[in-house]
């Protein structure tokens, strides 16, 4: 089971630009390394990250073997309506790790 850390405000004003930070535990094994017996270590990477805001994708990223272990991805989202933010990581075997956060948006002042 992958362990994810998400930093996103629980409340925001409409139109506010929020900083979103994500960190997930994953070895991101490249497939190019060998173990002490000389055997190839199989590739094991996350291939895709997506953030959805009320079902609508607002940020996506494609990950490759050169990405370091425990990928840290930070981006910005403009607050519009109350609802949920979904964070979805997909690995090379289509295993999905999903974390959801509720967001309350107050009307602009």
């Amino acid at each position: 089971m992958l362990k994810a850390r998400i930093s996103v405000p629980a409340r925001a004003r409409q139109g506010e630009i929020m900083a979103v930070k994500t960190l997930i535990s994953h070895p991101m094994e490249t497939g190019f390394r060998r173990n002490s017996l000389g055997q190839a270590i199989p590739r094991d990477i996350l291939t895709r990250f997506e953030c959805r805001y009320n079902e609508k994708p607002v940020f996506t990223a494609t990950l490759h073997p050169a990405v370091a272990a425990n990928p840290f991805i930070a981006f910005h989202v403009r607050a519009q309506d109350s609802g949920k933010l979904e964070f979805i990581w997909t690995d090379q075997d289509d295993q999905v790790t999903r974390v959801t956060r509720e967001l309350t948006v107050d009307p602009a002042a």
């Binding site: 362990k3 930070k21 960190l23 535990s25 070895p27 370091a68």
Partner: protein, 265 residues
């Protein structure tokens, strides 16, 4: 020689005879004029990663440790939290005093050893494998409760022999390169060793996330890395020699804050 002969001839006071001439006399003051944490020797980017409580990748293990802390073992015995209650209050400062003498084991143990002692004694579970993710997570979680508090270890009484052995280890040359710890970490602090800036070898940040490992690792993993660096045969994880050295290093770092989980190059 004359002095030795005199001592050897003195039967009334045989305890004065010390047949280990390599053991240094206990020292009362720290060997370095200014104490600098390993943090000081990192690049600005690495320092920023450690300072950001969210982005610090070592916090992944701290989070995992918190889960383990509150999860009861299958033996029906209480979880860590069952005896120690809330780690944030009850475990604050605890890691800053390890390694320390454990009366029931009659030896000096480090934090990892104490966690495993608790597991065997009070949870009737098998000890966690050294350097396993679970042991790293628990020691990082307990260490994190002392983050920012000053290191302070006892080196007197039953801990004194271990301290002396650790100090002797520090100043003993080893490996094909024939170097002792002090040749890098005292005599050449701040100078470059190929691509790396030599630190004072202060141990307050461990378990620490090393970018090179892409993982958190224990102090013993770092010590093994140092041993391999001078082409010496490393000891096993949790070896007595490393625990003695750990005690000496923690004494040497006394007053510096615990930085667990630190981020290092």
């Amino acid at each position: 020689m004359i002095f030795c002969a005199l001592l050897a001839g003195c039967d009334k006071n045989p305890t004065v005879i010390d047949d280990s001439p390599s053991a240094p006399a206990p020292v009362a003051t720290a060997p370095l004029p200014e104490m600098l944490s390993g943090y000081h020797f990192q690049s600005a980017d690495t320092q920023a990663l450690q300072d950001d409580q969210f982005a610090n990748p070592g916090m992944l293990w701290v989070d995992r440790g918190e889960e383990l802390w509150t999860t009861a073992p299958q033996t029906g015995k209480p979880a860590c939290a069952g005896c120690h209650n809330d780690a944030a209050t009850d475990m604050a400062g605890v890691a800053a005093h390890f390694p320390k003498y454990n009366k029931s084991l009659d030896t000096v143990v480090n934090l990892e050893g104490q966690i495993n002692h608790c597991r065997v004694e009070h949870q009737q579970s098998s000890p966690l494998v050294y350097e396993s993710d679970d042991l790293l997570a628990l020691s990082a979680y307990v260490g994190y409760q002392s983050n920012g508090l000053p290191i302070e270890v006892a080196i007197d009484g039953p801990a004194a022999p271990a301290f002396a052995a650790g100090q002797a280890y520090f100043y003993t040359r080893r490996g094909q390169l024939n170097l002792a710890c002090n040749h890098c970490h005292e005599d050449n602090v701040g100078r470059m060793l190929r691509g790396d800036k030599l630190s004072q070898g202060q141990a307050g940040g461990y378990p620490a996330y090393r970018l090179e490992w892409q993982s958190i690792g224990s102090l013993h993993r770092r010590l093994r890395f140092c041993n391999v660096g001078v082409r010496a045969e490393p000891f096993a994880f949790g070896a007595t020699q490393y625990i003695e050295l750990e005690l000496y290093l923690k004494w040497r770092a006394q007053g510096l804050p615990v930085e667990t989980p630190a981020v290092r190059r």
